[in-house]
Every structure is written in structure tokens, then in C-alpha cells.
């Protein structure tokens, strides 16, 4: 029971490491952003699963004696999702500009072009 009680954290860690792997191993900038998004979702799941109480219900108060799950993580993650899409689109806009300037979105090709210019 004690061991199985942590499985939500392990799922979160697996997801987070998937996102992390995409970010550090792929040279494609759009792919890096997708990996960053997966990373972000794993953090959302960590927060929400912390707030869950087994047998609880959604935190909308009704006049009955029921257990409510913790609303605080919900508030934090709710705003974080919308801010996340706004910042992701900012990153995508940067990728579009990089593509216009360099003609590629592969990291090593951008580096190669920079070094060519420096010579």
C-alpha cells in the first residue's frame, strides 16, 4: 500500500523524462517546444494529483456533508495552462522568425551558418 501510494509521482516522472528527453536530444526547434509542453503537462498532473483526496469530489460547495478535493492546486494550474499556451505561442513566433532569417529550424544548421559568417 505504501509503495503503491506513490504511483502518481512515478507516472509524472516518466512523462517529465519523456519531455526532457525530447528537449535535449532533438535538434528541431518545434520538436523542442513540443517536448517542453509535455514537460509542462507532467507538472500540471503532479499538482492536480497532490490535491486529490480519495473519495472526494470537485470543489463546488453544495449543502451536503461531502469531502472536497483541494482547490488550491486547481487555481494555480488553471492560470498556468493559459499562460503556458501564450508563452508557447511566443516561442513558436520566435521559431517562425528564425526560419525566416536562416531558412532552417535545425539547431546545428543554425550554428553552422553563424560560424560561417564569423569567419
Amino acid at each position: 500500500m505504501q509503495i503503491l501510494g506513490h504511483y502518481n509521482y512515478w507516472i509524472f516522472i516518466i512523462l517529465m523524462m519523456c519531455g526532457f528527453y525530447v528537449v535535449i536530444s532533438s535538434g528541431n526547434l518545434v520538436k523542442k517546444l513540443v517536448g517542453l509542453n509535455i514537460f509542462q503537462t507532467s507538472v500540471f498532473i503532479l499538482y492536480i494529483s497532490m490535491g486529490k483526496i480519495i473519495g472526494g469530489t470537485a470543489p463546488i460547495v453544495i449543502n451536503q456533508p461531502v469531502v472536497y478535493s483541494n482547490p488550491m492546486p486547481h487555481v494555480l494550474i488553471l492560470t498556468a495552462i493559459v499562460v503556458g499556451i501564450a508563452t508557447t505561442s511566443l516561442g513558436l513566433a520566435l521559431v517562425v522568425r528564425i526560419h525566416e532569417a536562416y531558412g532552417t529550424i535545425e539547431e546545428d544548421e543554425i550554428h553552422a551558418q553563424n560560424e560561417e559568417e564569423a569567419l
Partner: protein, 154 residues
């Protein structure tokens, strides 16, 4: 497209975890808007990916495994899932659930905490969204499309 499905699945997961507001947001943002933005970027740039040869996959895999194992080691001290005795459920939250219907007068605790108790925070978040929009407008707002300095490498 896969990304939209992923968002929808995580939204259903949030419903199971009792976070209906969050599930709502994730479904509309992730499955609706962010997929459109991703596809738009791919249409503006290129959807073909170069076959990766520069990095070996072994080194990132090693880094990821070590980090993951360290995090798993860290979970031994975290309280178990879904236990009402966890410390997160005892600081301030009980007061919000018990008093907010009288103080604020609305039953949805998430909304009352979001807009009233944590009003400063939400004001900041709205400002971040506002700033991000300004940034996007500055970066790609103009309709003119300058050609690249060099021709696209074939």
C-alpha cells in the same frame, strides 16, 4: 494532431482527479487552440525533419535515466496519493472551503479563490498573457514577409 489527442486524454485525467475547471481549460486550450498554433507554425516553416545524426541518443538517454531515478528516490519522502491526512490539505484550505460561501457568496471555490483571494496573482497572469500577445505581435505581427538572407539550402 497527436498533440490534440494527448491534451484531450490529460483533460479526462483531470476530471478523474476532481479538477473540473482545469479539465475544462486543458480541453479547450490543448485540444483546440494550441494544435492550431502548432500546425500554423509547421505550415510557416517546414514539416520535414532532418534525420538526426549529430547527437548519439545514448548520452541524453543516460542523463534522463539518472535524473528520473533521482526523482524517484525523492518520492520516498512524499506523502502517498489521495490521503486526507496529507499536509497540503491542512494549511488554509479548510478555511477557504468552509468560509468562502459566506464571505464571497458563490459556491465554486476555485472561482472565488482565483478571482478574490488570489486576485493579485490572477492580475499578474492576465498581464503575462497580455505581454505574450504583444511579443507575438512584435515578432510576427506585420504581414510583410522578408526573404531569408541566404537561399534555402537544398
Amino acid at each position: 494532431m497527436l498533440f490534440g489527442i494527448y491534451s484531450l486524454v490529460s483533460a479526462s485525467l483531470f476530471v478523474i482527479l476532481d479538477a473540473v475547471d482545469v479539465a475544462f481549460t486543458e480541453a479547450s486550450v490543448g485540444a483546440g487552440v494550441s494544435t492550431v498554433f502548432m500546425l500554423g507554425t509547421l505550415a510557416l516553416t517546414t514539416s520535414r525533419e532532418k534525420t538526426p545524426a549529430a547527437h548519439k541518443p545514448l548520452l541524453p538517454l543516460l542523463v534522463v535515466t539518472i535524473t528520473g531515478l533521482a526523482l524517484v528516490y525523492g518520492t520516498w519522502d512524499i506523502p502517498p496519493y489521495g490521503d486526507p491526512a496529507n499536509p497540503i490539505h491542512h494549511h488554509l484550505v479548510q478555511r477557504f472551503i468552509e468560509d468562502s460561501p459566506q464571505e464571497i457568496g458563490i459556491p465554486n471555490v476555485v472561482t472565488s479563490v482565483l478571482a478574490s483571494y488570489r486576485g493579485y496573482d490572477t492580475l499578474g497572469e492576465t498581464t503575462v498573457v497580455f505581454t505574450a500577445a504583444i511579443g507575438v505581435l512584435v515578432l510576427v505581427g506585420g504581414a510583410r514577409r522578408r526573404r531569408s538572407r541566404k537561399d534555402e539550402p537544398k
